[in-house]
């Protein structure tokens, strides 16, 4: 469902933020994207969503080329950005309605999904207030609801757990599992290795724009016996 083929992104003609990377995420998979700060995670995710243009290479989402067929590719994606501070002067319902219309979510499905997600994230009461009055966690929750409302086949989540309370983080993890179980792809970045450990079918470790590891956690741990995932990660990324 997600395919990166020899993708490179260079900033200011000097900084190679992402350097000739290739990977894929299949339907039914949850893939964690791990790396230290400045490793190229967000750049990769932004290229995937069409926010940043790749200099070289080909990116395909749900069979659509991100450059050649951007609208179709974007329709297939549910994206949670790294910052939830968006349209703060709109009320929660107004923001969700905007997203619903942009992604052409039918009236009934829209109402049903907003009700369901708001209940799961305990956000129902806040929906009629302006987003500006929300806490960071509440803003993150509304971004999650907005990204998932149109039930896209591909979820791209940039640090989705940041700011969520334990219950909401649990709910989101459950939703990710349910989504993958239904044959969809979930690709998310995280700094929390425990989350990756418990949730991911596969992890991709990136550093300075290069992929250091792409495979299952079990395989990674089996080749580094008696070492914690944290230690393995630090050893890999400190090289």
């Amino acid at each position: 469902m997600i395919k990166f083929e020899n993708v490179t992104k260079v900033y200011n003609k000097t900084v190679r933020a992402v350097d000739d990377i290739s990977f894929s995420v299949k339907g039914g998979e949850i893939v964690g994207f791990i790396g230290p700060n400045g490793s190229g995670k967000t750049t990769t995710m932004k290229m995937l969503t069409g926010i940043i243009k790749a200099d070289v290479g080909k990116i395909t989402v749900n069979g659509f080329n991100v450059r050649k067929d951007p609208i179709k590719a974007k329709e297939s994606i549910g994206y949670i950005a790294d910052s939830p501070d968006m349209f703060l002067r709109l009320k929660g319902t107004e923001f969700l309605d905007l997203i619903g219309d942009i992604y052409r979510v039918p009236t009934e499905k829209r109402q049903e999904r907003i009700q369901e997600f708001a209940k799961r994230f305990e956000l129902t009461e806040a929906l009629s207030s302006p987003i500006m009055s929300y806490s960071h966690g509440m803003r993150q929750k509304i971004m999650v609801i907005a990204a998932l409302m149109h039930d896209p086949p591909v979820w791209i989540l940039d640090e989705p757990m940041v700011g969520l309370d334990p219950k909401s983080a649990f709910e989101l993890k459950e939703m990710m599992r349910e989504h993958a179980k239904n044959g969809n792809a979930v690709f998310f970045s995280t700094h929390v290795l425990e989350v990756a450990e418990k949730l991911c079918d596969r992890v991709i470790i990136i550093k300075k724009g290069h992929i250091l590891y792409d495979g299952t956690l079990e395989k990674l741990e089996s080749t580094n016996k008696n070492e914690s995932l944290e230690k393995i990660f630090l050893e890999l990324t400190d090289k």
Binding site: I71, A81, F87, T93, E94, Y103
Partner: protein, 552 residues
């Protein structure tokens, strides 16, 4: 002192080309800066200088040479006060840096002094130029010695201080007294309406004075006991001391000038020290009202993406105080300004003859009217910056434009439509009102409306294109998105320059060829349509490409 200077330095932010093609942007900004200086700043400075020179010359022989420049500087102070209110309000209470500054071990007066200085510098650059131009007009007309230029330079930088201090003290007092208002956005909006009320008040005052034409103005200014100047001297005493130090060549008045400013700054800092923290801490920028959520969710219906996007743009413009006062209110204010100008010139032969000409179908008058409507439409659309800040206003969430499944051109069209609706609708309402008041015929009214709409839509699309070249996406409060944004200024400069060339050419064609006004008006329509097509194509291809290229 060093803390104060460091804070001022940190608060004044310059717009640096932030994306990859820095050299290309530098060239673009250089060219645009040159056009802006030649198209707006120099002509305006020259105009002010000439007016003061012309008014001062006849007054010198009557021993009242300084009255014209003094009255003008009072007027500048009044405008500085009117426009400063909202700026100071936003800078003191609604900027994003407050949350970072308040927890620091800084005294209230240090925060306020640095915020005030940063606002003064960024707000007053245009004012500095106008002030020095007025002094130049006076110094040349009255043949003052070299010493006067030094005083003029001092005045150029320091004259806006007192009016802005008035704004600052009023803002702090309003915030202190408005503790019962939960939603502070309301306070900000009330200030916007207060500004409008002050402008209307000035219009009424001028109206009650029975209008002032240039002959009466010189006559009134030659009176050494001119009541208006005397009253203004009480409100802005520093102006009188500065001008007197220039006229009398004495240091005493200059010392008085410095003392008045020093006193104002002292009082201001004392008030800030006493009440700023009390008024700034715990500001709740919005208030939420809880409705029955089931009803709200049940009311959500599917609509066209563009219609919802349009609604979102309107909501953000009307709900954000900085956008409301700068982008929306200006559309309500300009007719009042125009009315003041009309009252000031109401009895001149030119205006009377012009209106009579329109009534009798005089070709020249009709052509001038249509050219004026076109010029005004361009000016208002550029000045309200709805279009030229359309992308900048997205700020940190600019990425939203890029990851939603809605084409860039569709989004640009919606943003342009917002500008066209607000600017165009305002223009058409006022054109129709003026048409009824001046008893214009239906044909002329329709011509005026069409030319207005074409001018508005051209500047709207062109403004979005200009903004797309290098939108200012890093700002910490909404006012910063508009103020100090070169795109807004450049768009205004280019649009006004194009319009000036168009209108002058049209008028010269009428005067010096045998072409009738109808032919020239048709030519104007065709030219505006071509400009519309060019600006639309620029948006469709270049602006969309610019958005696509931006790394955010």
């Amino acid at each position: 002192m060093s803390i104060y200077l460091k804070l001022v330095g940190a608060l004044i932010k310059t717009v640096e080309p932030s994306t990859e093609e820095k050299n290309y942007k530098k060239v673009f900004y250089g060219v645009m800066g040159f056009i802006a200086v030649c198209g707006i700043m120099l002509p305006m400075a020259f105009f002010v200088g000439v007016v003061i020179y012309a008014l001062t010359q006849p007054l010198v022989s009557q021993g009242a040479g300084q009255n014209a420049v003094e009255l003008f500087l009072h007027l500048i102070s009044v405008f500085s006060f009117i426009f400063g209110l909202n700026v100071i309000f936003s800078v003191f209470y609604f900027s994003g840096d407050i949350e970072n500054l308040l927890p620091l071990p800084l005294k209230p007066y240090q925060i306020i002094a640095s915020k005030f200085t940063a606002a003064l510098i960024s707000e007053s650059i245009m004012e500095f130029i106008v002030i020095i131009a007025a002094f130049a007009g006076y110094i040349i007309a009255s043949g003052r010695p070299f010493w006067s230029w030094i005083i003029a330079l001092v005045g150029m930088v320091t004259l806006p201080i007192v009016p802005l201090i008035y704004c600052a003290i009023i803002c702090m007092l309003i915030m202190l007294l408005s503790g019962f208002i939960k939603n502070k956005d309301t306070v900000n909006k009330i200030t916007g309406f207060l500004t409008l009320a002050v402008v209307v008040g000035i219009a009424v005052l001028v109206s009650n004075m029975g209008g002032l034409d240039s002959d009466h103005l010189v006559e009134a200014l030659s009176d050494p006991n001119n009541q208006l100047v005397n009253t203004m001297n009480l409100i802005f005493p520093q102006v009188h001391f500065l001008v007197s130090s220039m006229v009398n060549n004495t240091v005493v008045n200059l010392i008085f000038y410095i003392a008045v400013n020093g006193l104002a700054i002292g009082v201001f800092l004392l008030v800030a020290q006493a009440i700023y923290f009390r008024t700034a801490v715990g500001i709740n920028r919005v208030s939420g009202r809880t409705k029955s959520i089931d009803k709200v969710i049940a009311s959500l219906k599917q609509h066209s993406p563009c219609l919802t996007y349009l609604k979102k743009e309107f909501r953000l413009l009307f709900r954000t105080p900085a956008y409301f006062t700068n982008c929306i209110m200006i559309n309500l204010m300009w007719p009042v300004f125009l009315y003041i100008v009309y009252l000031l010139n109401g009895k001149t032969n030119f205006l009377e003859g012009f209106i009579y000409g329109i009534h009798t179908g005089n070709e020249e008058s009709v052509l001038i009217l249509i050219l004026a409507i076109s010029g005004l439409s361009v000016l208002i659309t550029a000045a309200n910056c709805i279009a030229s800040s359309a992308l900048t206003r997205e700020g940190k969430h600019f990425a939203f434009i890029k990851y939603i499944p809605l084409s860039y051109i569709a989004q640009i069209n919606v943003k342009a439509l917002v500008s066209i609706i607000i600017s165009g609708l305002g223009m058409i309402i006022y054109v129709i009102a003026a048409a009824i008041y001046l008893n214009l015929g239906i044909k002329i009214t329709i011509f005026c409306c069409l030319v207005s709409l074409l001018s508005v839509s051209f500047v709207s699309y062109f403004g979005i294109f200009m903004d797309s070249v290098n939108p200012k996406l890093i700002w910490d409060d909404e006012l910063n998105a508009l103020r100090g944004n070169y795109n807004v200024f450049f768009n205004m400069a280019v649009a006004m320059l194009l319009e000036a060339v168009t209108c002058t050419s049209a008028y010269l064609l009428f005067r010096f060829t045998s072409l009738g006004s109808l032919i020239i008006i048709i030519m104007l329509f065709i030219l505006l349509m071509i400009l519309n097509i060019i600006s639309y194509l620029l948006c469709s291809y270049k602006a969309a490409e610019n958005i696509d290229r931006l790394s955010v």
